[in-house]
């Protein structure tokens, strides 16, 4: 995994940003996760995750338009970088490899 290491929550955030494509900003990401995965996401936790991902180079961000609803503050839109994509793929590959390595009998729960 090395330099593409990401945590579980980070992975979810990264995936959600990818899902939202051009509309990935704070609130939309939060709501997307909440509706799709049925879990509560605090603004703080999400912010930290986004910040970390951006520092790691898996996300880039740019400011969009300001809206009145946001008290005149601009939205910061996020986009997944190629490195981000690579990280997601590595993550998926790793899981796949692990799944593939599981002997079928391990999940035979009939007699236990």
């Amino acid at each position: 995994m090395g330099k593409y290491a990401i945590g579980e929550f980070e992975e979810i955030v990264l995936l959600t940003v990818a899902i939202l494509y051009e509309n990935a900003y704070g609130i939309s990401i939060k709501e997307e996760i909440e509706s799709r995965l049925d879990r509560k996401v605090s603004v703080g936790a999400m912010r930290t995750a986004l910040d970390r991902l951006e520092k790691k180079g898996f996300l880039v961000s740019e400011f969009g338009e300001a809206t009145a609803q946001r008290g005149g503050k601009r939205k910061r839109f996020f986009k997944v970088t190629p490195a981000g994509k690579k990280a997601l793929e590595e993550n998926m590959d790793a899981r796949k490899k692990l799944w593939a390595a599981i002997p079928p009998i391990a999940f035979e729960f009939k007699f236990s």
Binding site: I27, S42, T48, F63, R70, G71
Partner: protein, 870 residues
């Protein structure tokens, strides 16, 4: 969107405060958006959620560090400031050295002064009950309107206070200083101590090292001694000396007894005004001395413990007239009142002027405090002046910084930082200098001052000093330099504003005013001291040795004198009950024909023998000298002041009585100074009634002093072999009275030199800078034929004006200060205007020489050199 739907203010402000700047905008936006969504459904919940969200954002990664947004830039800036400061310091070594030298001299000098001041202020401050102990003083109102103040209080007054004053918790009595011979076996030493009341050690905080636990200072034939005394006699076993005995020769009780040691106290520290090596219970002495029970006799120093300061006023009011109330029936009793004085203030406020406390050492402490602060100020001014004058040098740097976006604050802080760095360095160097100089300074002031580097307070002080001095010296440059316009600054042609030039000149004037003031002050102190020490005292104090007569020697005066006179170098010998130039034994019971019975008269009495007037070289102005002790035992000499006080037309053959002796006045001696010059000459009666009361032999010698001294010692030893030969030269004794003044005059001289030195360093810097600035002008002038003298005149002209101005300003201050100092002396020099002129001239010459020495280099420079870089 209605106003209400905007998010709550306080959490928002909190968020803005803690959130990283780069995250703030969209975080705040997100929160606002969320809030707006929630607000639509449930406004109350939206607010709570908002607060929750803000609080949840308070986590690492979002919260800014204290300086996190600036940290990298900030560090880089500080690094840059340091580098630039260092490079500038190296590049202009001369200026850095000038600045540093001025600061170090100023700081080191004032640190020494501050050490001295803190010692002075610390004297007697170690007593836990210090602010509750009051000493009683007795004011004796005399017929001539003067008031003499004494610390010897009649014991009945103390007893009365103890019995009837509920506000007074303790009354402590302490005798005058006792000089007793204390012996163990054949080892005999003279020691100083007191008789004291049993509560003495509970009242004053003198630490006990050993005691046998009994009530100390109660039982007769017990004593408490100092560690030093114990070590002297018992060597290493001193700790176990409790219960042992020493033989004490009590000359007041006329006993020589074995006295048991019941306690040992730690050696009295130097910063105590009470100094003693043993304490004896006062009780046996009181029992045997009926004279102490008389209201008219001052006997013991009396201390009262009053814990509530308010009560002290009550006590002071009530005690005031006690003596007069109780001596109403006694016609001879004088008009005497009692006053209270806080014990812990006694050291610094010890001068009584007409019965009222009028300063004391505190005046010198204040004077030195002012001098110390002036020295620091002068050193700071150097820094200010040099850095603003040379600002053109840095103007390009300032301009460039501004172009790159530096704010005023950043440039200010740069100059503050530079000032701090330099003062910090100066403070460190000064500590070294002080450590180096302290032994010499200690010899000078006769103290054991220490710079305690292990004490936290020292570091707080040094840190504080750095901050204050740094701020002071950095303030003006830091305010002035950032105001330069960018283009002007970059072109290097900042027009020097008139205000800043005036300000700089003002500071120079200030420096030299102080220096002139100190120089004039020093010369006046010197002149007064010279006057005091060389004044004709009315008697001849040169070549007179005062020898202490111990044991029964006073009873054998005739044979002792005869032996001494056999020495060829001894001219004459007399005896006296004390040092005639520092005399204080007096009576208030003298009576003469025509005495006003209602007025109190305190008249000094000195008992001598028939050779006194002649040996001391005094003059008889009327009547005759004593011819022989036998014939004249009830004849008296008086001094002119006494003659005036008694009011006789012709005092000769008038009757006079005191101490139960009745007799006639046979002569009047010319006034001589029997006390220091601070005080007027007091009335005096000279009698030879019973010379065996005397304890000093006064020996007038000539020839080789060490040899005579040895011979006198030999003779004295043959009479009292068991005692140490104890002597002093009269002129030394006299000079010793002015130790404080001489110390102050020496200190003032040193610090005056320092102040002018520091001021001149600054002036040197300024002069060399302006000479440099005008080098082209000078070149052109020289090309057109100006001579070196003319150029020197041109360059020093400006500064001469400043010097004259500072001289004029210093005159009134110097005059006022000199007058108030001299007023402390009854006998003093006139203030001589020439001295002022001299002081001014000295400053002027030194200053102009400083300027010229630098200008000369420029003036003699080949104009080709200064003009070619055009």
């Amino acid at each position: 969107m209605s106003r209400d739907s905007s998010p709550p203010k306080i959490p928002l402000r909190l968020l803005r405060w803690f959130c990283k700047e780069e995250l703030l905008e969209d975080v705040e936006g997100d929160l606002s958006e969320l809030f707006a969504d929630r607000y639509a459904t449930d406004p109350a919940k939206a607010k709570i959620k908002f607060i929750q969200d803000v609080l949840m954002l308070f986590r690492p990664g979002i919260v800014r560090g204290i300086h996190i947004p600036n940290r990298i830039i900030h560090q880089a800036m500080v690094k840059n400031f340091l580098k630039i400061a260092f490079r500038n310091a190296i590049r202009y070594k001369g200026y850095t050295l000038l600045n540093l030298l001025g600061l170090v001299v100023g700081i080191a000098a004032s640190m020494l002064i501050i050490l001295w001041i803190s010692y002075e202020r610390g004297v007697d401050q170690f007593h836990q009950k210090g602010d509750q102990i009051y000493q009683v003083f007795r004011n004796m109102n005399q017929s001539n309107g003067m008031v003499a103040t004494s610390s010897a209080i009649p014991k009945p007054a103390a007893d009365l206070v103890a019995a009837e004053y509920p506000q007074v918790e303790e009354v402590v009595l302490m005798s005058w200083s006792l000089d007793f011979q204390i012996a163990l076996g054949d080892q005999n030493m003279e020691e100083e101590g007191h008789y004291v009341s049993p509560n003495f050690l509970e009242t004053f905080s003198f630490e006990l090292v050993e005691s046998d636990g009994e009530d100390m200072l109660h039982a007769p034939q017990t004593m408490v001694i100092s560690e030093r005394l114990a070590k002297k006699h018992f060597k290493e076993d001193w700790k176990t000396s409790i219960g042992q005995t020493l033989r004490v020769d009590d000359s007041y009780l006329s006993t020589s007894e074995d006295v048991k040691i019941v306690g040992i106290f730690k050696d009295i520290p130097d910063n105590s005004t009470l100094q003693f090596d043993f304490l004896l219970p006062i009780e046996p002495f009181v029992r045997q001395s009926s004279w102490v029970d008389n209201w008219g006799n001052g006997s013991f120093q009396t201390f009262l413990v009053i814990s509530d300061p308010k009560n002290s006023e009550v006590v002071a009011d009530r005690i005031f007239d006690e003596i007069n109330t109780h001596t109403q029936d006694n016609d001879l009793a004088g008009d005497e009142t009692l006053i209270l004085h806080r014990f812990d203030k006694k050291y610094l406020y010890s001068n009584f002027e007409n019965g009222v406390i009028a300063g004391g050492r505190i005046d010198y402490v204040r004077m030195m405090t002012i001098i110390a602060s002036f020295l620091l100020l002068i050193a700071c001014i150097n820094f200010m002046n040099l850095s603003t004058a040379r600002s053109a040098r840095r103007s390009k740097e300032i301009g460039l910084r501004k172009v790159m976006g530096a704010r005023k604050g950043s440039i200010s802080s740069q100059f503050f930082l530079e000032a701090m760095l330099l003062t910090g360095l100066a403070v460190i160097l000064s500590v070294g200098v002080v450590l180096l100089l302290l032994p010499y300074f200690n010899t000078l002031v006769g103290l054991e001052l220490k710079l305690d580097l292990s004490a936290g307070i020292t570091w707080v002080f040094l840190g504080g000093l750095t901050l204050i001095l740094g701020a002071l010296s950095g303030l003006y440059p830091a305010l002035l330099l950032p105001t330069y316009g960018i283009t002007d600054a970059i072109k290097g042609g900042v027009k020097r504003s008139k205000t800043s030039t005036y300000f700089r000149k003002g500071l120079v004037v200030f420096q030299f005013t102080i220096s002139t003031l100190l120089i004039i002050g020093t010369t006046i102190i010197y002149q007064q001291m010279n006057y005091v020490l060389s004044k004709d005292l009315g008697l001849d104090k040169e070549n007179v040795i005062a020898v202490m007569m111990n044991a029964d020697l006073p009873k054998r005066i005739p044979s002792y004198k005869a032996e001494l006179l056999r020495l060829p170098e001894v001219q004459s010998v007399t005896v006296a009950t004390g040092n005639p130039i520092n005399y204080g034994r007096s009576t208030s019971s003298a009576n003469w024909t025509g005495r006003d019975p209602n007025a109190g008269h305190e008249i000094n009495v000195i008992i001598v023998d028939e050779d006194f007037v002649q040996t001391m070289g005094m003059k008889i102005v009327a009547g005759r000298d004593f011819t022989s002790q036998l014939n004249d035992s009830t004849n008296f000499l008086i001094n002119e002041v006494a003659a005036e006080l008694m009011g006789f037309e012709n005092p000769i053959e008038q009757k006079l009585s005191f101490w139960g002796i009745e007799g006639n006045i046979v002569g009047v001696v010319k006034n001589f100074h029997m006390r220091d010059m601070h005080r007027p000459i007091a009335p005096l009666i000279i009698t030879c009634f019973d010379p065996s009361d005397a304890y000093l032999a006064l020996v007038k010698i000539s020839g080789d002093t060490p040899k005579v001294l040895a011979s006198i010692e030999e003779v004295t030893d043959s009479f009292t072999p068991e005692y140490e030969f104890d002597y002093a030269f009269l002129d030394d004794l006299y000079a010793r009275q002015y130790r404080d003044e001489q110390l102050i005059s020496r200190l003032a001289a040193i610090f005056a030199v320092m102040s002018i030195f520091i001021s001149c360093l600054g002036l040197f810097g300024l002069a060399s800078y302006s000479a440099e600035q005008r080098s082209r002008e000078i070149g052109i002038r020289k090309v057109h034929g100006a001579r070196v003298q003319q150029i020197l005149l041109l360059l020093s002209g400006d500064y001469s004006k400043l010097m004259v101005l500072s001289f004029l300003i210093s005159i009134p201050f110097a005059f006022y200060a000199a007058r108030s100092w001299l007023e402390g002396f009854e006998f003093r020099v006139e203030i001589n205007p020439l001295l002022f002129l001299l002081g001014g001239l000295v400053t002027f010459v030194i200053a102009i020489l400083t300027v010229v020495s630098k200008s000369y280099q420029v003036a003699t420079l080949n104009p080709v050199k200064s003009l070619k870089d055009e």
